[in-house]
Amino acid sequence: MRKVTVLAVAALLGVSAGCGGDDDAGANEKLVVYSGREEELVEPLFDRFEQETGIDVEVRYGDSAELAATIAEEGDNSPADVFFAQDPGSLGAVEREGLLAKLPQAALDRVPARFRDPDGHWVGTSGRSRVIAYNTDALTDDEVPDSIFDLTDPKWKGKIGIAPTNASFQAFVSAMLLELGEERTRAWLEGLKANDPKRYEKNLPVVEAVAVGEIELGLVNHYYLYLAKEENPDAAVANHFLTGEDPGALVSVAGAAILETAEHADAAQHFVEFLLSDASQRFYVDEAEEAEYPLVAGIDAKAGLPPLDSLQGPQIELDDLGPELEKTLELLNEVGFTT
């Protein structure tokens, strides 16, 4: 018992020594960001902002949806100034709680209207397209379907991978519902179901399964290809982009918002402008390993990616995807994708 006590005391001392810098006695301005975007992907942006402005950035990393729920629970007492989220759904959820401030028009205008909240409460900061990832040993680019409607062809039976419980797949189905209505969406889902698609928890395992030939096609976001290649440079997988208004070509965004209760509102505004600056947008092209699309006009995507303007996708408002989700889940449940 005595040894345990000694250990505990030592531990206590260690912790108090380790966290001595907790009380921000420094005169530096501060900014608190809740980031649903992964540390590995966005930390350089925070570092650069600190260097440029001298503002201390404190970042709480977590899952976007869980952080959205956290902000909702915190209510007016949220310590967060900025919410930097993976998807419009998380941003929209906080918006519906009435906790987001309106962003300055100048910041909003940096990105095309389809990549921001029509009410101006959040703005997209980088984009991603839905694609069909395919196994390059089994197929050539020409053999990959150009529309998701071709995926119900029996020749793909057992060869398709999806992540139906993942937010990105659900957003795509929501977009389909908004654009084509319930009847056609249900028919497509049932057709897909009849083809026995393999189900995975997330996008990346889908891409990995494609790479090893467990399946031939996977419905995923474009940038998982780069993450998979990072893990295994020889992975036999490539992206096939869909064209036109095919729902399978949905372009969605990660985005940022400022909280109504932000204690450091000026720094927060500064930060959102920083994210939309040419230099930060170029970060997605030149440095970030996952090759997302920059959204600001005049900055081209990473070499090898089709230009953002060429990606149309369904003609819907991203902010409408969140409210549509309940219907989507019900539909997925009825067709038998989530049980």
Partner: protein
């Protein structure tokens, strides 16, 4: 047995402790009630009943397997001349510290499609392994995480068992098996009950393993409500279903306990070592098989990923600072939790009344809740009513205690149950005050249970993720958050080193807390 009224000095801290532990329940009721009658619509959905059924099937399978593995392992390690038993004493409970999502990832890496095993068997023409996704995978991953509960608690009880009883039964001509069945097993009953309860509650609350293995348990739909729909009301209602299931299990366990009375535990004497004879090596093979499957296999996969990371040029950076943070916060939580459960356990065991038993049962119910629910409830209370404490280390440690209070309680209680109150009464009759009796008689007698309970809290806190993410001070990295940082990206090669470190730094604590045999523990006082 004396039926005196519970002293206030015990009742007040016990009630206070349980009141804090049930905060998450209060939060759920608040959220569910806020949604009005509509909130309960989710209960009527046809899928909900299936979810309950699937969840219960998993609970039954995992609990059964955990007992079938944990009990013989505990007996072999604690009581026999098993070869290499010191090694087994440390290795057997160690899988407990592997976060269930890492356990699931590692099992998939080993036995999944195109996993290590299949790559090994490929030259032999094996193209497909039996499907691991679904029930089987969830069952294996959760058994890995939970059989150590049975091992640790039954082990503590076996070490504390008075050998005089077994000797007497042997003297009366009972066979070894007869002694085990008629003497040892009944004496283990409280610790087995407590351990099974913890296993069942863990299975109810787990999300990591069931989501990766794609088994549709209740927690998956709770997470779905939070993550996809951002709707906290149906999530709260579904979480209350988990609480109801937990309550049913708690009542069941309490009923089954009735009439079981502890054997009087007498003077301190190390338990006798039973020679296995011809069974030594078969027994060794059994232990080795379990440790291989549940510890060596995950470790191999983690090492394989680490090596692949080095090949890819990631390098290995061991997060020692995060390790220190993990150990510090977890050790603090373990020590405080043990102190906090003492009054609850003493009250329930020494002053059995309807309300003291109910209080004790209540302390367990929150354990069925997934981490995110507990985390959000503490976010709610702390952000709004305890603002200065919000997102401090103190609150994080408090969250660990709330989450793992039942683990500590189970350890202390099962040990307390094995000490006959008459021993304490004798000390009292010699004129010692209750506190002095507690310090000089009771605590030394139950120290193995205290240590086992502390070990359970410590190992669980080491791997805790959801509450850590939301409640830690900004910049406070633990090994669990380090692992998450990379698994969230799908970068297993970079998640593996912190996972290995987590197992590595936990091993000495397992040894200190739970692996030493009776004679190694320094004599009390």
């Amino acid at each position: 047995m004396s039926r005196t009224r519970a002293p206030a000095a015990l009742a007040v801290p016990a009630i206070a402790a349980v009141a804090l532990v049930v905060l998450p329940l209060a939060y759920l009721v608040l959220r569910a009630a806020g949604g009005g009658v509509d909130a309960f619509e989710v209960l009527g959905r046809p899928g909900t009943l299936t979810l309950v059924g699937k969840t219960l099937a998993l609970v039954a399978a995992v609990t059964g397997t955990a007992v079938l593995l944990g009990l013989p392992l505990a007996w072999l390690v604690a009581r026999t001349d098993l070869p290499a038993r010191r090694l087994f004493a440390v290795a057997t409970p160690l899988p407990l510290v592997i976060p269930s999502y890492v356990a699931a990832l590692a099992l998939l890496g080993a036995f999944g499609p195109r996993g290590l095993l299949q790559q090994l068997l490929e030259p032999l023409g094996v193209e497909r392994l039996p499907e691991i996704y679904g029930f089987v995978g969830a069952w294996l991953a959760l058994t890995l995480s939970t059989y150590p509960y049975v091992f640790l608690l039954a082990g503590a009880a076996l070490r504390g068992l008075d050998p005089a009883l077994e000797d007497a039964a042997r003297g009366l001509g009972r066979s070894r098996w007869g002694v085990f069945r008629r003497v040892t097993l009944p004496a283990l009953r409280p610790s087995l009950g407590a351990a099974s309860l913890l296993v069942a509650l863990y299975t109810l609350s787990d999300f990591g393993a069931v989501s990766l293995m794609q088994y549709n348990a209740l927690t998956r739909s709770i997470y779905l409500q939070y993550r996809s729909l951002f709707d906290r009301t149906p999530a709260a209602v579904l979480a209350l279903v988990l609480v109801a299931l937990a309550a049913a299990l708690l009542v069941l366990e309490e009923r089954s306990r009735r009439g079981v009375r502890a054997s009087a535990r007498g003077a301190e004497r190390p338990p006798t070592t039973i020679p296995l004879g011809a069974w030594r090596w078969p027994a060794f093979s059994f232990c080795a098989a379990v440790v291989t499957f549940f510890l060596v296999v995950p470790l191999t996969v983690l090492v394989y990923w680490t090596v692949r990371g080095v090949e890819l040029g990631h390098g290995i950076a061991f997060a020692w600072e995060a390790a220190l943070s993990s150990v510090s916060a977890s050790a603090l939580a373990a020590v405080i939790a043990i102190v906090a459960v003492l009054p609850v356990a003493l009250l329930a065991e020494r002053y059995p009344a309807r309300w003291t038993r109910a209080l004790e049962r209540l302390a367990y119910t929150g354990n069925a809740l997934p981490g995110i629910v507990i985390a959000l409830s503490l976010v709610f209370f702390a952000a709004n009513y305890l603002t200065p404490l919000y997102q401090t280390l103190a609150l994080l440690v408090f969250a660990y205690i709330v989450r793992f209070f039942p683990q500590a309680l189970a350890g202390v209680e099962s040990a307390l149950h094995a000490v006959h109150p008459r021993i304490e009464e004798a000390a009292r009759s010699l004129g010692h005050g209750p506190l002095r009796v507690l310090a000089t008689v009771t605590v030394p007698l139950i120290r193995r249970g205290l240590l086992a309970g502390a070990a359970l809290v410590f190992l669980n806190a080491m791997k805790e993720l959801p509450a850590t993410l939301l409640l830690r001070p900004i910049g406070f990295e633990t090994l669990a958050t380090e692992i998450w940082k990379y698994t969230a990206l799908g970068s297993y090669s970079r998640a593996a080193p912190p996972a290995l470190l987590l197992i590595l730094v936990s091993a000495p604590f397992v040894y200190l807390l739970a692996a030493r045999r009776g004679s190694d523990v320094s004599a009390p006082g």
